[in-house]
C-alpha cells in the first residue's frame, strides 16, 4: 500500500533528523583537546570570508567601518562581514543558538561577565598558542585587561572595548557652587550637603547618583569599603560581611537625606542621563565609554573623576573582548586571528578609542605622539588613566551572572522599598550560596 510506504519513508526521515540533532548536541567537540600548538603560519592567500558578530552601537559604527576598511587594505583576500546583533543580551542569545546549531560566526564580542561561561563550555578558541606562535607582545596590554579575558590560564579573547565606571560631573555647576568631586568616602557628606537642593520636602537637585540597575556600578563600592563579593575560591558569598555591607548602609543614609539618587529598573539609565543634563543631578557614576558622549551632548562643561575610595580605590572593568569561535574551519581561524590582532593592535588603537569612546588598550599607543594628542583633546580621560592600575576585572565564576541577580535585587529593595540593608544583604548572601553550591 502506497500509504504505508509513505509513512515508513517519513518515519525514517524523522528518525534521521532527530538523530542528527541528537548528535549535534551530544558529541563532544575537540575544544578541550586543543593542545598548546597552533597550525604553522601560512602564506595562503585564498579568498576567505569571516563573519564578525558585534554589539557596537550606532555611535561606534563609523569607527568599525573604518577599521574594517583598513584591515582590507592590509589583507585584501579576507572579507569581513560585520553584523550588528543587538545589545549584549541579544548577541549572547544568538550566539548560544548558533553554537547549538554548530553554525557560528568566526569572530564575536564576548562581554566581560559572560566570558567564564563561554570559556568553561569550550566553545571559544584558545588564543594562547597563536599568541606564542606569532610572538604577540601581550605585555603591551595592561595586565588587568588581559587577565579579564583569560580563563584558567588560557587567553580566550583580547580586550577590544574596555571601559570602567567613573564619576562624570557637571563642572560648570561645581565651579559655581565651589565644590570639587569627592576623592574619598569621608568627603562625600560635606560635598553632598553643599550641592543638594530641596524645594520643601522635594529634592530638586541631587548631589550625585550611583546606578542600582546593574551591580557592575556598585561592585567596586563593596570592595572599596574593604569587603568582597565572593571569597577567593568563588564558592562563598562575602557580601554579608560587615565591611561589604558598609556601602549600602551609607547609600541608604545618603538617599534618605536626599543627597543621592539611585536609578533602578529598565529605562533608569536614560532617566539618569536626562536628569544630569537637566541639572537635576550634579554628578553621576557611569561607564567611561560614554565620557565622550557626555562631553558632546551636555550644554555645560563636563569633568571626570575616578570613583571615591575608602579602604581601597578600585573600579571594575567593563566592555567586551573580541574572540574567535572554536567551531570554524582552519583557514577561517587563521583569518579570524588576523582580524582579532588587527582590531586590538597598537597601530590603530588611538583612532579606535577615539571613534568608539572606549579606552585605549595599548601602552605603546598611549605613550605615542598620537596618544598624547588624544589626552590633550580629552583631558577627562586622564582621571581614568591615572588610576588605571586600580581597574580590575569582575569575579570570574561561571555562576556570577546568576548569583549577582540576588544582590542586585537587594539594592532594588533598598531603593524602592527602603528596606534595611543588613537584612537584605544577609538574605542575598544565602541565595548566592545556594547558587554557588549548585555549580
Amino acid at each position: 500500500m502506497k500509504m504505508k510506504k509513505w509513512l515508513v519513508g517519513l518515519t525514517t526521515a524523522m528518525l534521521v533528523m532527530s538523530s542528527m540533532i541528537g548528535c549535534s548536541s551530544s558529541t563532544p567537540t575537540s575544544t578541550n583537546a586543543s593542545e598548546a600548538t597552533a597550525p604553522p603560519a601560512t602564506e595562503d592567500k585564498t579568498p576567505v570570508t569571516i563573519q564578525y558578530w558585534h554589539a557596537h552601537d550606532d555611535d561606534q559604527k563609523a569607527a568599525l567601518e573604518n577599521m574594517v576598511q583598513e584591515f582590507n587594505k592590509k589583507y585584501p583576500w579576507i572579507t569581513v562581514d560585520t553584523v550588528f546583533q543587538g545589545d549584549y543580551d541579544t548577541l549572547q542569545q544568538k550566539l548560544q543558538a548558533a553554537i547549538a546549531a554548530k553554525q557560528v560566526p568566526a569572530v564575536t564580542n564576548i562581554e566581560v561577565h559572560a566570558l567564564p561561561q563561554f570559556a568553561d563550555s569550550g566553545v571559544l578558541m584558545d588564543l594562547t598558542p597563536y599568541i606564542s606562535r606569532d610572538k604577540l607582545d601581550t605585555n603591551d596590554f595592561s595586565e588587568g585587561m588581559l587577565k579579564a579575558y583569560s580563563y584558567q590560564d588560557k587567553q580566550f579573547g583580547l580586550p577590544l572595548i574596555v571601559s570602567t565606571s567613573v564619576m562624570v560631573y557637571n563642572k560648570t555647576m561645581f565651579d559655581q557652587e565651589g565644590v570639587k568631586p569627592p576623592q574619598t568616602w569621608d568627603e562625600i557628606e560635606e560635598f553632598a550637603k553643599k550641592l543638594t537642593k530641596k524645594d520643601g520636602n522635594e529634592v530638586s537637585r541631587y548631589a550625585f547618583s550611583v546606578p542600582g540597575w546593574d551591580t557592575w556600578y556598585f561592585d567596586p563600592w563593596i570592595e572599596n569599603g574593604g569587603g568582597a563579593i565572593l571569597s577567593d575560591d568563588m564558592k562563598t558569598a562575602m557580601i554579608d560581611q560587615p565591611d561589604s555591607m558598609k556601602f549600602m548602609k551609607l547609600f541608604k543614609d545618603w538617599k534618605d537625606k536626599g543627597y543621592m539618587h539611585i536609578g533602578y529598573g529598565k529605562g533608569a539609565s536614560g532617566n539618569m542621563r536626562q536628569m544630569f543634563f537637566d541639572g537635576k543631578i550634579g554628578m553621576v557614576e557611569h561607564t567611561s565609554a560614554l565620557i565622550k558622549w557626555y562631553i558632546e551632548t551636555a550644554k555645560f562643561e563636563v569633568g571626570v573623576s575616578f570613583l571615591p575610595g575608602d579602604k581601597k580605590r578600585n573600579s571594575h572593568m567593563g566592555g567586551a573582548s573580541i574572540a574567535v569561535m572554536d567551531g570554524i574551519k582552519d583557514n577561517e581561524k587563521e583569518a579570524a586571528w588576523k582580524f582579532v590582532q588587527f582590531m586590538t593592535g597598537a597601530e590603530n588603537n588611538i583612532k579606535w578609542a577615539e571613534g568608539t569612546g572606549y579606552l585605549p588598550t595599548r601602552k605603546s599607543a598611549i605613550s605615542s605622539e598620537e596618544g598624547k594628542a588624544y589626552f590633550a583633546k580629552y583631558p577627562q580621560y586622564k582621571a581614568v588613566f591615572d588610576n588605571f592600575d586600580n581597574v580590575i576585572g569582575p569575579p570570574k565564576s561561571p555562576a556570577f551572572n546568576e548569583a549577582s541577580a540576588a544582590y542586585e535585587e537587594a539594592m532594588g529593595k533598598m531603593v524602592l522599598n527602603g528596606e534595611d540593608p543588613e537584612t537584605l544583604l544577609k538574605d542575598a548572601a544565602k541565595k548566592m550560596n545556594d547558587i554557588l553550591k549548585d555549580q
Partner: protein, 311 residues
C-alpha cells in the same frame, strides 16, 4: 465516525469491496490533515519532546556534554519560592487582563453595536491597536509611561497629583503592562462580541418585550446566555495568549522591578538564555505546558455544562 472503522473486523468478505472504498476514502481524508499534522509534529511536538530530555540534564545550552541528573531540575523548581512567585504573577496578569478585556469588550460591543456609518468608522478605530505590532505598542507606552517626560504623568501633574514611575514601581508595573494588553486587545474582543450579538435572532427580544421584560432583564436573560459560546471562545483564546505574555514584558520591564512582572515565559527565556540553565528552563517548559493544558481542559469541561449552544 471511528465506530464505523471498528466494525470492519466483523464484516463478512462479501462486503470487502465496499469497505475498501471506505478505507480508501478515509485514507484520502487523512491525507488532507497530514500536512498540518506533520508540520506540527516536527515544529511543535518534537521540540517539546526534546525539552523533556533536556529537562533531565544539567545542560547549559552551549556545552557539548549533557549530564543526566534525573528529576533534580523539577525538584529544585518545586521548592523554589521564585517558582510560586512567577506562577502568581502569571495568574494575576492573566486573570486581570482577561477579565478586563472581556468586560470592557462586552461594554464596548453593546455601545458600538449600531449600524450608523459613524459607528462603523469608530469600530475600525477601536480595532486598530490589535493589528499594530506589540514591539511598536510597547515602545509607545514606554514613552507615555515615562516618569519625567511621559504624557501620563504630565496630565497627572495638571490635576495636582505627584508623578508615578509606572514601569519602575513594583506596585504599578504589572498594572501598567496589563493596561497595554487591554488597550491592544479590547477593540478586537468587542468586534467578536458584536458578531455574537448580531447572531442573536431579533425575535427573542421582540417576544421578551411583549412579555414586558425591561432592557436590563433582556440583557441578562437573552443576550448573556446566547453570547456564552462567543464568550467561551474569547475566554479560552485570551487565556492562552495571556498566559504566554512575553514581548511586552521583555520590552517594557524585563520582568522587573523586583520581579513584579516576572511572568512564566519570561522566566523560561531568562533561565535558558541569560542564566545558561537550559535544563532547569526546559523543566519549567514542561511544567508550564501541563498547567496550561490542564487549565484549558478544565475551562472546556465547565463550559460544556454552562454554555448555551443553539440548535
Amino acid at each position: 465516525m471511528s465506530s464505523e472503522i471498528k466494525l470492519t473486523k466483523h464484516v463478512p468478505t462479501k462486503k470487502r469491496s465496499l469497505l475498501n472504498i471506505k478505507r480508501r476514502e478515509s485514507t484520502k481524508d487523512f491525507l488532507f490533515a497530514l500536512p498540518a499534522l506533520l508540520l506540527l509534529a516536527i515544529f511543535t511536538y518534537y521540540p517539546l519532546v526534546n525539552s523533556v530530555f533536556i529537562s533531565f540534564t544539567d545542560w547549559n545550552l552551549i556545552r557539548p556534554i549533557k549530564k543526566f541528573i534525573g528529576l533534580t531540575n523539577y525538584q529544585n523548581l518545586l521548592v523554589d519560592p521564585e517558582f510560586y512567585h512567577v506562577l502568581k504573577v502569571t495568574f494575576l496578569y492573566t486573570i486581570i487582563e482577561v477579565s478586563l478585556e472581556l468586560l470592557l469588550g462586552l461594554g464596548l460591543a453593546v455601545l458600538f453595536n449600531v449600524t450608523a456609518r459613524s459607528f462603523g468608522v469608530m469600530r475600525s478605530i477601536l480595532f486598530m491597536p490589535h493589528y499594530i505590532s506589540m514591539v511598536v505598542v510597547s515602545m509607545v507606552f514606554v514613552w507615555i509611561y515615562n516618569t519625567d517626560y511621559g504624557i501620563l504623568n504630565t496630565v497627572l501633574k495638571l490635576f495636582g497629583a505627584s508623578p508615578v514611575s509606572w514601569l519602575n514601581d513594583p506596585s504599578t508595573a504589572l498594572w501598567a503592562v496589563i493596561i497595554v494588553a487591554v488597550w491592544k486587545g479590547v477593540g478586537f474582543t468587542s468586534l467578536i462580541f458584536i458578531s455574537g450579538l448580531r447572531g442573536i435572532p431579533i425575535e427573542y427580544y421582540e417576544a421578551a418585550s411583549i412579555d414586558g421584560a425591561g432592557k436590563w432583564k433582556q440583557f441578562l436573560k437573552i443576550t448573556l446566555p446566547l453570547l456564552s459560546p462567543t464568550t467561551l471562545f474569547l475566554v479560552i483564546t485570551s487565556f492562552i495568549s495571556s498566559m504566554q505574555v512575553f514581548q511586552s514584558v521583555n520590552i517594557m520591564t524585563n520582568g522587573g522591578p523586583l520581579k513584579a512582572t516576572k511572568v512564566m515565559v519570561y522566566w523560561i527565556y531568562d533561565l535558558t538564555f541569560v542564566q545558561f540553565k537550559a535544563g532547569k528552563g526546559s523543566a519549567l517548559v514542561i511544567i508550564f505546558f501541563f498547567i496550561i493544558v490542564l487549565l484549558t481542559a478544565i475551562q472546556f469541561a465547565i463550559s460544556k455544562k454552562k454554555v448555551h449552544y443553539e440548535g
